[in-house]
C-alpha cells in the first residue's frame, strides 16, 4: 500500500475511532448551550465518566452498566453545575473551570486503584470484512457507542427542532425574559438541559476507557472535552454539524500517528498539536467582532 493511502486510511480510521468522545461531549454541550448556559466543565465530566465506566465494568463485568454509571456521574456533575450557576452573580464560565479541575482531581483520586486491572470492553462491529488487509480491517472496527452516537445525533436534533420540550429549551436560550413571561422556570429548564448534557458527556468518557484507548490511566483525556466545547461553536449549535465536526476532529487527532505509521517521524509533536491548532483556526475564522454568529443562542456568554 502506498504511503498516501496509508495516511488516508489512518485518517478515516481515526475519524471513526477517535470521534466518538468528541461527538457525545459536543452533543451534550450543544444541548446545554441551547438553553443559554455554558458548561466548560465537561472535560472533568469526561474524565469522571471514563473512570466510573472502567470501575463499574471491572466490578460487574458488564461494560454497558459502566456506560450507564458514566452517564450517571455526568448527571450529578451537571446538577452541581446548574445549582451553582442558578445562584445570583455566579459566573458559569468560572464554575465550569472549577468543575473541570474538581472532576479531573476526583477521578484521579478515586481511580487510583483502577490503574492496572483490566475491565471488559465494549463490543465492536467489524465493517472491514470485505478486505484482506489487516490495516483496513482494524481501521473499520466500529464501536457500538459510535452507532449509538449517530442515533443520539438524530435524536437531539429531533428533540430540539420538533418537540415542545425543545422549543422551551430554545426559548430559554434565546430570551430568558420572554420565557419567564410565558411562565417557564428558567433555572429548571437549564438545570435539566445541563444534566442531560452531562449524561452525554459522561457516556463519551466511557468510550475512552472501555474502547479506545481502552484502559484507565491519568493521561487518558488530552483535552477532548475542551475541544468539543469549541467544536460546538464551529458547528453553529447544530447536532448534525456536531457530528461532521467530530469526524473532522477525529481525523485531525489521527494525523500524528498516521504519519508516524508510514515513517514520517519528524515533527511528531507538532502533528499531535493539529487538532488544537485546527480548533483555534476554526474559531478564529468563524468569529466576528461585529455580529453574533448564526444559530447562536442569544443568552449565551461564551460566544460573545
Amino acid at each position: 500500500m502506498s504511503a498516501a493511502a496509508g495516511v488516508a486510511l489512518g485518517l478515516v480510521g481515526g475519524a471513526v475511532r477517535i470521534s466518538t468522545p468528541f461527538l457525545f461531549v459536543s452533543l451534550g454541550e450543544c444541548l446545554t448551550e441551547k438553553s443559554g448556559r455554558v458548561n466548560l466543565g465537561l472535560e472533568g465530566t469526561l474524565v469522571m465518566g471514563a473512570m466510573a465506566a472502567y470501575g463499574v465494568s471491572y466490578l460487574t463485568h458488564s461494560p454497558w452498566l459502566g456506560v450507564l454509571a458514566a452517564g450517571g456521574c455526568g448527571v450529578v456533575l451537571g446538577a452541581l453545575h446548574a445549582w451553582l450557576c442558578s445562584r445570583p452573580r455566579v459566573n458559569d464560565v468560572a464554575v465550569g473551570i472549577a468543575l473541570m479541575l474538581f472532576g479531573i482531581g476526583l477521578a484521579f483520586f478515586l481511580g487510583k486503584p483502577l490503574v492496572g486491572p483490566t475491565a471488559p470492553h465494549l463490543p465492536a462491529v467489524s465493517l472491514g470484512w470485505w478486505s484482506r488487509s489487516t490495516q483496513v480491517r482494524s481501521a473499520l472496527q466500529v464501536n457500538a457507542l459510535f452507532v449509538l452516537g449517530l442515533a443520539t445525533t438524530v435524536l437531539v436534533r429531533f428533540l430540539l427542532d420538533r418537540t415542545r420540550w425543545g422549543l422551551i429549551v430554545r426559548t430559554v436560550g434565546e430570551s430568558a425574559d420572554a420565557a419567564r413571561a410565558m411562565g417557564y422556570d428558567i433555572n429548571r429548564v437549564r438545570r435539566r438541559a445541563t444534566m442531560a448534557g452531562g449524561f452525554l458527556a459522561g457516556v463519551g468518557g466511557s468510550f475512552l476507557s472501555l474502547f479506545y484507548p481502552g484502559s484507565w490511566n491519568e493521561g487518558l483525556s488530552s483535552g477532548q472535552g475542551l475541544m468539543a466545547v469549541a467544536l460546538v461553536i464551529f458547528a453553529r449549535w447544530d447536532p448534525v454539524r456536531c457530528l461532521l465536526a467530530s469526524l473532522l476532529f477525529g481525523a485531525a487527532s489521527a494525523l500524528g500517528p498516521a504519519l508516524q505509521s508510514v515513517g514520517v517521524t519528524s515533527g511528531y509533536y507538532l502533528f499531535n498539536a493539529a487538532p488544537y491548532a485546527l480548533t483555534l483556526l476554526i474559531i478564529v475564522m468563524t468569529s466576528s467582532r461585529d455580529r453574533a454568529l448564526v444559530g447562536q443562542p442569544a443568552e449565551l456568554q461564551v460566544a460573545r
Binding site: L40, A98, G223, I233, G267, A273
Partner: protein, 375 residues
C-alpha cells in the same frame, strides 16, 4: 454586547465614584461593610471547603484532623516545609497575575500554563547563547517574560479584534505551547547528551539565578512579590488601571467615554503573560538549568484558582498563593503518611474553588435585606 463576564462583586469604578459623592450615612455604613465582607466571605468559603474536604477524607476511612495536622506540618509547620511552600508560592503569584489582570477587564484567561512553558523554553534558548553570568540572567528573564507576554497578547488581540472567546482560545494555546515545547526539546534544541529525558543544553551552574540571602528560596519569590505590588499599584493608582477597571465594570460606558477598549485588552493580556513567562524563566534559571518536560507543572491552572480566590486583587494574590503553595507542598507528606493519592491536593483545590465561586452569591446579601426592610 459587553465583553466576557463579570465576576461576582468585583469593585466597579463607576459605582465607587457615585458612592464617594453621596456622603449619606447609608454609604458610610456600606463603606465598612465592604472590607469586612471582602475578608470574611473568602475566609468563610475556604473554611467551608476544608470542612467538606474533611468529610470526604473521613469517608475514605482516615482521621481528618490527623490529615490536617500533617498538612500543616508539611506546609507551614517547620522551617524546611515553609521554605518548600515559598518555593511553590513564587511561580503561583506570577501565574495568578496572568489571570488576575485580564479578569479585572472581565476576561477569563486560562493561558498561564502555556505562557509559563514557552517563557521557560525561550529563556533556555536565549541563555545558552549568552556568556557573562549577569547578561545570561538578565537575558533569560527578559526573553522568558517577553515570550509569555507576546503569546498571551496574541489571545488578547484575537479577543479584541476578532471576538474570539478568550477562555477557549487560551486553553487551546496551552496545548499548542506544550506541543511546541516537546517539539523543540526533542528536535531542534535538544542537547545530544540528554538521553533519558530530552532537554535543551544546560545554561551552566555559574549562570543559575541563586537563592535569596539567608534562605533556601530562589529569587523568583522576590520577583513574585514585587510583581504583585507593582500590578496592584498599576491597577489602583494609575490611569491605565482606572481605565482597565472601567472596562471590567461597564464596557459600554468605557466605550462611550472614548477609552481604547481593544488596546487595553491587548495590554492587559500582555502584562499578564509577562508575569507567567517570567515564572517559566525563573523555573529554568533557578531550578532546572535547562528546558524540558518538567516545565509542565500545572502551576498555570493553580494560578487561575489563586486569581479567583484573590478576587483578581494583586495584593490578595500574595497570601492566597502562599496558602495554595502550602497545600501543594504538603501533598508529598500526605502520600507518605496516609497513602493518599497525589490527586488529593487537586480534589481539595477543586472543593475550595467551588466553595469560593458559591460565595460570590453572598456579597451584599445582608445589606440588601436590611435595605428592603427599611423601605
Amino acid at each position: 454586547m459587553g465583553i466576557g463576564v463579570s465576576i461576582g462583586a468585583l469593585p466597579r469604578p463607576g459605582t465607587e465614584a457615585v458612592a464617594a459623592e453621596g456622603a449619606a450615612a447609608s454609604t458610610r455604613r456600606r463603606d465598612w461593610r465592604k472590607p469586612v465582607e471582602s475578608i470574611a466571605i473568602p475566609v468563610g468559603a475556604i473554611l467551608v471547603a476544608l470542612v467538606l474536604f474533611g468529610v470526604f477524607v473521613a469517608l475514605t476511612g482516615r482521621n481528618a484532623l490527623a490529615v490536617y495536622h500533617q498538612m500543616f506540618r508539611g506546609s507551614f509547620g517547620t522551617w524546611f516545609s515553609f521554605q518548600n511552600t515559598l518555593l511553590r508560592a513564587a511561580p503561583l503569584m506570577l501565574t495568578a497575575l496572568a489571570t488576575a489582570l485580564p479578569l479585572r477587564l472581565g476576561l477569563v484567561v486560562l493561558g498561564g500554563e502555556g505562557a509559563m512553558v514557552l517563557g521557560g523554553l525561550a529563556a533556555a534558548a536565549v541563555g545558552v547563547h549568552l556568556h557573562a553570568p549577569l547578561s545570561v540572567k538578565i537575558g533569560m528573564l527578559a526573553a522568558g517574560a517577553l515570550m509569555g507576554g507576546l503569546w498571551m497578547a496574541g489571545a488578547g488581540a484575537l479577543r479584541a479584534y476578532r471576538g474570539v472567546n478568550e477562555t477557549i482560545a487560551t486553553l487551546l494555546l496551552n496545548y499548542i505551547a506544550i506541543a511546541l515545547l516537546n517539539h523543540m526539546v526533542e528536535g531542534p534544541l535538544r542537547d545530544p547528551a540528554s538521553l533519558n529525558k530530552p532537554s535543551t543544553l544546560p545554561i551552566g551552574d555559574d549562570n543559575m539565578l541563586g537563592n535569596l540571602p539567608g534562605l533556601d528560596v530562589h529569587w523568583g519569590l522576590a520577583f513574585g512579590v514585587i510583581a504583585c505590588l507593582g500590578f496592584w499599584f498599576l491597577m489602583q493608582r494609575t490611569t491605565f488601571g482606572f481605565a482597565a477597571r472601567m472596562v471590567g465594570g461597564n464596557v459600554r460606558a468605557a466605550l462611550l467615554n472614548g477609552l481604547p477598549v481593544k488596546r487595553l485588552i491587548v495590554i492587559a493580556t500582555f502584562l499578564g503573560g509577562l508575569a507567567a513567562g517570567l515564572a517559566g524563566a525563573v523555573e529554568v534559571a533557578a531550578i532546572h538549568g535547562n528546558a524540558n518536560a518538567s516545565l509542565v507543572t500545572g502551576y498555570g491552572y493553580t494560578g487561575v484558582l489563586v486569581a479567583f480566590i484573590a478576587r483578581a486583587n494583586p495584593l490578595a494574590v500574595i497570601p492566597v498563593a502562599l496558602l495554595l503553595g502550602g497545600i501543594g507542598a504538603s501533598g508529598g507528606l500526605l502520600q507518605r503518611v496516609f497513602e493518599l493519592p497525589d490527586a488529593t491536593v487537586s480534589v481539595l483545590q477543586g472543593v475550595i474553588f467551588i466553595s469560593i465561586l458559591f460565595s460570590d452569591s453572598l456579597y451584599g446579601r445582608r445589606w440588601r435585606r436590611a435595605r428592603a426592610v427599611a423601605a
